[in-house]
């Protein structure tokens, strides 16, 4: 007999519980019956759903919770898809567009363009030299295509993170209520293991769609740019804001003329973090068909190809260094312009 029988018997709920259906017997029950020992108080189980179910079949098992959640999700899946599918469809277009552009432009055009962008952002020939040597090295060991796929995905996802994150951050900085509401969501996005939100995404979209990994990357990487935009605008000198008010600036003039420019160093720091996090996620996203260096890492793990895994890992490190140094150099230029 189950441990908690006495509760339901004592409360006279036996009738409500219904009789045990018998059914299949678990291994545990079988062992308990065969040993014939009564359990001591030390072994008193916690009154969890499963243990209460043993005493009273009317109470659901914990298995019911997870399966209920699953069937609930599957139930709303179609309705959800009707809404989310069209909204996110452009993401698929952007990603496939960027991937095909980065791959079809020949290397002797692409590399100078990238170096040009690096120079515009950093105004540093040393940095351009470093980036050039990294890219040429990757191309030399035949990782150029993979690196470009990864770059294309990061480019699109970071761009969308900034386009969505900065306005959200600005809205948060203006409303304490919104800030209180959004911060727990950001905390959750940052701490939830990325694999966890891959699961419902797989249910929602087909694995062949680029937006599947696009959404996963954006959800993971958008957090810092939102946080730092909010922080940056809140940290703008109160005296300067007061001066802007005293001279009759409108909210719009204040936002574009004072708050965003003065928050720019913080926003740029957020963009840097966002780019680094999307690079981290693009590797994990190769589990759900994201192309790029992550695929090679995954191959290294699956087939225990040590060399392939290590070299592609090195490629990711080189990309990370490039992206980090270039965004930091741009940030430093913004900083010196202001200080």
């Amino acid at each position: 007999m189950a441990t908690y029988d006495f509760i339901f018997d004592g409360l006279g709920l036996r009738g409500w519980c219904g009789e045990k259906t018998g059914g299949t017997m678990s291994m545990e029950e079988l062992l308990a019956r065969n040993s014939g020992e009564t359990k001591s108080l030390w072994e008193l189980p916690f009154p969890s759903l499963d243990n209460l179910h043993d005493a009273c079949p009317a109470i659901a098992q914990t298995r019911g919770l997870t399966s209920g959640l699953e069937s609930g999700f599957l139930g709303i899946k179609d309705a959800l898809k009707v809404v989310i599918d069209p909204i996110t469809q452009p993401l698929s277009w952007f990603l496939s567009g960027a991937l095909s552009i980065f791959q079809t432009v020949p290397w002797f055009v692409m590399i100078p363009i990238l170096l040009g962008i690096v120079y515009l952002a950093s105004k540093s020939t040393r940095l351009v030299g470093m980036v050039a040597s990294f890219i040429l090295f990757l191309a030399f060991i035949d990782h150029y295509d993979y690196a470009m796929q990864t770059l294309a995905i990061i480019f699109v996802c970071s761009m969308i993170c900034v386009l969505l994150g900065v306005p959200i951050g600005i809205a948060m900085s203006r409303s304490d209520g919104l800030q209180r509401g959004v911060i727990p969501v950001l905390d959750m996005l940052q701490t939830l293991p990325p694999f966890v939100y891959l699961i419902p995404l797989i249910f929602l979209f087909s694995v062949t769609e680029p937006k599947l990994y696009g959404i996963a990357i954006i959800l993971y990487a958008i957090v810092p740019v939102i946080r730092l935009t909010d922080l940056g605008i809140r940290l703008v000198d109160k005296d300067v804001i007061e001066a802007a008010d005293a001279y009759g600036m409108t909210d719009r003039q204040k936002l574009y003329g004072v708050q965003i420019p003065l928050a720019l160093p913080n926003i740029m720091a957020g963009v840097n973090q966002t780019i680094m996090m999307s690079l981290a996620m693009v590797v994990i996203a190769s589990l759900v068909s994201a192309p790029g260096l992550g695929v090679l890492v995954l191959r290294g793990i699956r087939n225990l190809e040590l060399g392939v895994g290590l070299i592609s890992g090195l490629g990711i490190v080189l990309l990370a260094i490039i992206l980090d140094r270039v965004t930091k150099a741009a940030l430093a230029r913004v900083n010196t312009a202001q200080q």
């Binding site: 000198d237 300067v240 001066a243 005293a246 001279y247 009759g248 420019p261 202001q338 200080q339």
Partner: protein, 353 residues
């Protein structure tokens, strides 16, 4: 001279807290600042302030920190909204303004200079100076020219294209003043504008302000905690303490007839000879003076300069003139009497220590 009232503050109250309306009733029933905080959890910011500010004059509002002076000046352009009361600018109640009229007031009629300069760090000096016009939406080129003109007027040539952080504190505040002047408003609010500057620069800036004022005749509201500064600049002096006006009037008048121990404390420390002026202590007299006259002095001379002229001889008499006409006579003995310091009041703040 016609005394046209530019700004009139009437029965202004400001109470900080969750339910200022309820607290206002207590204050009107005579509850004091400390009691209000202890028993009702509200901070009394301003209490029944009534000040008339004359057009073209410098009104100085003086008080120690926490006396509510910065709160008061922010009511004039409604950076802070009052709990009750009126602020009339040219007869219009600013408190009843909607957002648009308020913005127009801030853009056209009032400019402000801040203690910590509050320049836009990412804009050049000239862009900062031109900011009020750019905010109004005027043509950028003319705005910059106007800004540049006023920068030159406050003594900042050739710094136009630097950024504020490249300038010293005194120079930054000159930009702040140029910005206020560029807006071409009648009213200038100056919130402890010179308090963050070192003493020599501060004196410089005060002189600059007086010089500009002679030419421009703005209505200036100046906040300070420094009595010497207040006496130097003020046409009309308002002394605040714990949110209420202790005394207001012509500075010389306050100096000679302080009506509160708090003010006596304040003025016991100052150099009276430098602050008092001949016209306040002379005997008014327009007919001929009996006895020998040592010379002519101006009514606006301070006593220090008279002492220097007399070389310390207390038996002399001076003829006081203003705009070439005799307005009175000054006996050096009266001058010495006026210099007798008032000691710290026994029942004042310092008397208790």
């Amino acid at each position: 001279m016609s005394e046209q009232i530019k700004i009139s503050i009437q029965h202004l109250y400001k109470i900080f807290g969750d339910d200022p309306e309820a607290a206002l009733e207590h204050v009107k029933n005579g509850v004091g600042k400390t009691e209000l905080l202890a028993e009702h959890g509200h901070v009394l910011g301003l209490q029944d302030i009534n000040v008339d500010m004359v057009a073209g004059e410098i009104t100085v509002i003086m008080g120690l920190s926490g006396s509510g002076k910065s709160t008061l000046i922010r009511h004039l352009n409604r950076l802070i909204d009052p709990t009750s009361g009126q602020v009339l600018v040219d007869g219009d109640d600013v408190i009843s303004y909607d957002e648009d009229s308020l913005r127009r007031l801030r853009r056209q009629q009032m400019s402000m200079v801040f203690q910590k300069f509050a320049l836009l760090p990412h804009r050049t000096v000239v862009e900062n100076a031109a900011m009020p016009l750019i905010v109004r939406g005027e043509d950028k080129q003319t705005a910059l020219q106007e800004g540049s003109k006023w920068l030159e007027r406050v003594g900042l040539q050739g710094n136009d294209h630097q950024h504020p952080h490249q300038l010293s504190g005194g120079m930054q505040q000159r930009v702040g003043i140029a910005r206020a002047l560029t807006s071409n408003s009648d009213i200038m609010l100056m919130d402890e504008a010179f308090s963050a500057l070192d003493p020599l620069i501060r004196t410089d800036m005060q002189d600059l302000l007086l010089e500009l004022q002679q030419e421009l005749h703005k209505t200036i509201v100046f906040i300070t905690h420094d009595l010497d500064e207040a006496l130097k600049l003020a046409d009309h002096l308002v002394i605040l303490k714990d949110g209420y006006t202790v005394q207001q009037g012509e500075p010389q008048e306050i100096l000679l007839h302080p009506n509160d121990p708090y003010i006596v404390d304040f003025i016991s420390d100052i150099n009276r000879a430098r602050v008092l002026r001949v016209r306040s202590i002379m005997q008014p007299k327009t007919d001929a003076i009996e006895g020998p006259v040592a010379g002519d002095i101006d009514g606006n001379d301070n006593l220090e300069s008279v002492i220097a002229a007399s070389e310390g001889d207390t038996s002399l008499n001076y003829r006081v003139v203003s705009d070439g006409e005799q307005i009175g006579v000054l006996h050096m003995q009266d001058l010495v009497k006026a210099l007798v310091p008032t000691s710290a009041a026994e029942d004042g703040v310092r008397g208790k220590v």
